[in-house]
């Protein structure tokens, strides 16, 4: 808690003074405003502001704001509606993280105990619900002055995103809980499209396009760019989990212990011998806590040995290349700008991000 009882958010991770840092700072200011209910809502306000206050890359709001400025000729320096959309995106993203942590039984998030670990599952789910619905406030505040057609488009892409995200989450959870092993790369890509790309890249970009152009530009214009970018992001995320540096607050090989269906797991199961597949299926058939540590190491080693890591890395790079191509198509004719540089560099940033 900072002076005046306001939430103090973690310092922006992006480089100080950079475009993302400016957008992140503006978005966080809006978040403080919309989440300033800590005192008036016991057991709720503090929990709602917890995850957003732990910092983050702020990539989603930045994608939204950059698109709004690229497609908004008259937006100028006053891009408050786009920032409000950015705040809505962050609130919704953090609401899903709360629920995600409960569903996955995660213990840590961004270097601290998860919300349900600190306050219990019922209060955490309730805070997630509240954060999810509260996200509509900045979204509606952003579109209110823009008329009913813009509002309709915003709700349309938001509902589409919500449906795909839920379907993607259901696929991942269903595969894990029902021990579905007969999966293909296409299954994985579909899951990643729905679970990651739509919420993380496509939707923010679409919101930006709608807000910036006042509903005059088709939001599907940026769909393919967001899709390939999201795939590259997710595959790289999965790869990092198996590396020596799995990322801030994450456990190395945690995805293997969890039995998460990744491109590497699908590949290794396809490439291994019958004997190895039998052992792998036995490993996946166990509960998370019952999976032996030496089997986790064996699986990680097998993935290296059979080229699953290389395969996934190659696919991730291919998706990044496709994203660059789609960027050139979607933003053709736009004049050079900071925002164009940012979006154009996202595909390579996926591999260079901290």
């Amino acid at each position: 808690m900072g002076p005046g009882g306001q939430t103090v958010f973690a310092p922006a991770e992006p480089q100080a003074g950079s475009l993302v840092a400016r957008y992140a700072s503006a978005t966080r200011a809006e978040l403080v405003r919309y989440l300033a209910i800590k005192g008036s809502a016991p057991f709720l306000g503090e929990l709602m502001a917890d995850y957003p206050g732990r910092g983050g890359k702020m990539m989603r709001p930045a994608i939204c704001i950059a698109n709004a400025r690229i497609f908004g000729d008259g937006l100028g320096e006053d891009y408050a509606p786009a920032i409000r959309c950015g705040a809505a995106i962050e609130m919704l993203h953090n609401a899903l993280l709360i629920h995600d942590d409960v569903q996955d039984g995660s213990e840590e998030r961004r270097g601290r105990p998860t919300l349900h670990a600190m306050h219990g599952v019922p209060l955490a789910i309730n805070a997630g619900d509240a954060l999810m619905f509260s996200a509509f406030q900045p979204l509606l505040d952003a579109v209110r002055p823009m008329g009913s057609e813009v509002a309709r488009q915003v709700l349309d892409v938001t509902l589409t995103m919500a449906r795909h995200t839920a379907e993607g989450q259901a696929l991942e959870l269903g595969w894990r809980d029902r021990n579905v092993t007969d999966l293909t790369d296409a299954d994985y890509l579909q899951m990643a499209l729905k679970k990651t790309a739509w919420m993380g890249m496509i939707w923010p970009a679409q919101l930006g396009v709608i807000i910036g152009s006042a509903g005059l530009v088709d939001p599907d214009r940026v769909l393919r760019f967001g899709y390939f970018l999201g795939l590259a992001f997710q595959i790289e995320d999965d790869l990092r989990n198996l590396s020596a540096d799995p990322g801030y607050g994450k456990e190395r090989n945690g995805d293997l212990r969890e039995g998460k269906r990744t491109l590497m797991l699908i590949h290794v199961r396809r490439a291994c011998t019958d004997t190895e597949r039998e052992r792998l299926d036995g490993f996946l058939g166990r509960q998370r806590n019952a999976r032996p540590a030496n089997d986790v190491l064996w699986l990680a080693d097998l993935m290296h040995k059979l080229g699953s890591i290389d395969h996934a890395r190659q696919v991730a790079h291919a998706m990044a290349g496709a994203a660059m191509h789609e960027f050139a198509v979607a933003y053709a004719g736009q004049p050079p700008s900071e925002d164009m540089d940012y979006l154009g560099g996202l595909a390579s940033w996926v591999f260079a991000r901290p």
């Binding site: 009913s148 057609e149 509002a151 309709r152 709700l155 349309d156 509902l159 589409t160 449906r163 795909h164 007969d182 293909t184 790369d185 296409a186 890509l189 579909q190 499209l193 729905k194 769909l223 393919r224 899709y227 390939f228 795939l231 590949h267 396809r270 490439a271 291994c272 059979l306 080229g307 699953s308 290389d310 395969h311 890395r313 190659q314 696919v315 790079h317 291919a318 998706m319 990044a320 290349g321 496709a322 660059m324 191509h325 960027f327 050139a328 198509v329 933003y331 053709a332 540089d341 154009g344 560099g345 595909a347 390579s348 591999f351 260079a352």
Partner: protein, 296 residues
């Protein structure tokens, strides 16, 4: 007749009998293609001349800030796409196409409900039009009421101020309407001349042998759509009250929208001024007074 063998026919025949390479079906077994390839090296098939070589795609818009790994993968002169990458992109495109198609189908299904977000602007438009119509009607009604009140107020006889002579019209004489004839002011709410745009042009024709002429007086347009046959006239009374009224007047409209009144004057109608009120049968207020003079 035998078709002569074309040059290269043997090659084609050999190609036909050569091993046909088909994509390995999904889930049929291990697929190692491309898995062992170093990310920076071209595929072995490409080295052997397998048809996996393509010219570089257009480079416009390609950001210069590629990661080192991606930069290494993509040669500037020529891109060699190995099978793993080609499959990944092909599969990704198919997944997206399928998902978008399913999304459209789902949206179509959801539209079959009673209400859909897509309908919101239509509803808003209808609502807006209704509000505008209601506002317009309320405005018209209010103005009509005010107009009526204003006219009532101006027509109410008042006592002239003391010491003021000749500036206030005299009170009505109170004569019998039937006998007073044209001296009586017509009981019309249109007593005032119509403002510009609200007037109705009247052409008067006469039937019969008696010489007569029309004395122009302004007419109001009907307040609602009215056919000429819906118009009638009160008996045209003789101003002096000594002659029988003229009763046969018919109305029609010419192509320019002017009203034509045809007055049938009996042969032995005495000279003098005659007038009657033109009244539409779908409204109470008369449109005005038709006045003629029969010349001796």
């Amino acid at each position: 007749m035998t078709t002569p063998e074309q040059p290269g026919g043997k090659r084609k025949a050999a190609a036909r009998t050569a091993r046909v390479k088909r994509p390995v079906p999904a889930r049929s077994g291990p697929i190692r293609t491309g898995a062992q390839l170093p990310a920076t090296a071209p595929a072995p098939q490409a080295k052997q001349g397998a048809p996996k070589k393509r010219k570089s795609a257009p480079r416009e818009g390609q950001p210069a800030s590629l990661s080192s790994q991606v930069s290494a993968d993509i040669q500037l002169e020529e891109i060699i796409i190995n099978e793993a990458v080609a499959n990944a992109i092909r599969t990704a495109n198919k997944v997206l196409a399928d998902t978008v198609a399913q999304g459209r189908l789902a949206a179509e299904l959801f539209r079959q409900g009673d209400y859909n977000m897509q309908d919101v602007p239509v509803d808003l438009e209808i609502l807006g039009k209704r509000v505008l119509k209601l506002t317009r009607e309320l405005g018209d009604t209010t103005l009509n009421i005010l107009e009526q009140l204003l006219k009532k107020a101006t027509q109410t006889p008042t006592t002239p101020p003391a010491g003021l002579k000749g500036s206030v019209p005299p009170f009505p004489a109170g004569k019998n309407t039937a006998s007073a004839g044209a001296n009586q002011a017509p009981p019309s709410s249109h007593a005032a001349p119509p403002p510009p745009g609200n007037g109705l042009d009247l052409i008067v024709q006469f039937a019969g042998t008696v010489k007569a002429r029309a004395l122009p007086s302004p007419l109001w347009k009907p307040s609602r759509p009215t056919l000429p046959k819906q118009l009638s006239i009160t008996p045209m009374l003789h101003m002096a009250g000594t002659a029988a009224p003229i009763t046969v007047v018919t109305f029609e409209a010419d192509l320019t929208g002017k009203l034509i009144a045809t007055v049938t004057v009996p042969d032995k109608q005495p000279p003098g001024i005659y007038s009657g009120m033109i009244v539409p049968d779908n409204a109470d207020a008369p449109l005005g007074v038709l006045t003629i003079e029969i010349v001796a």
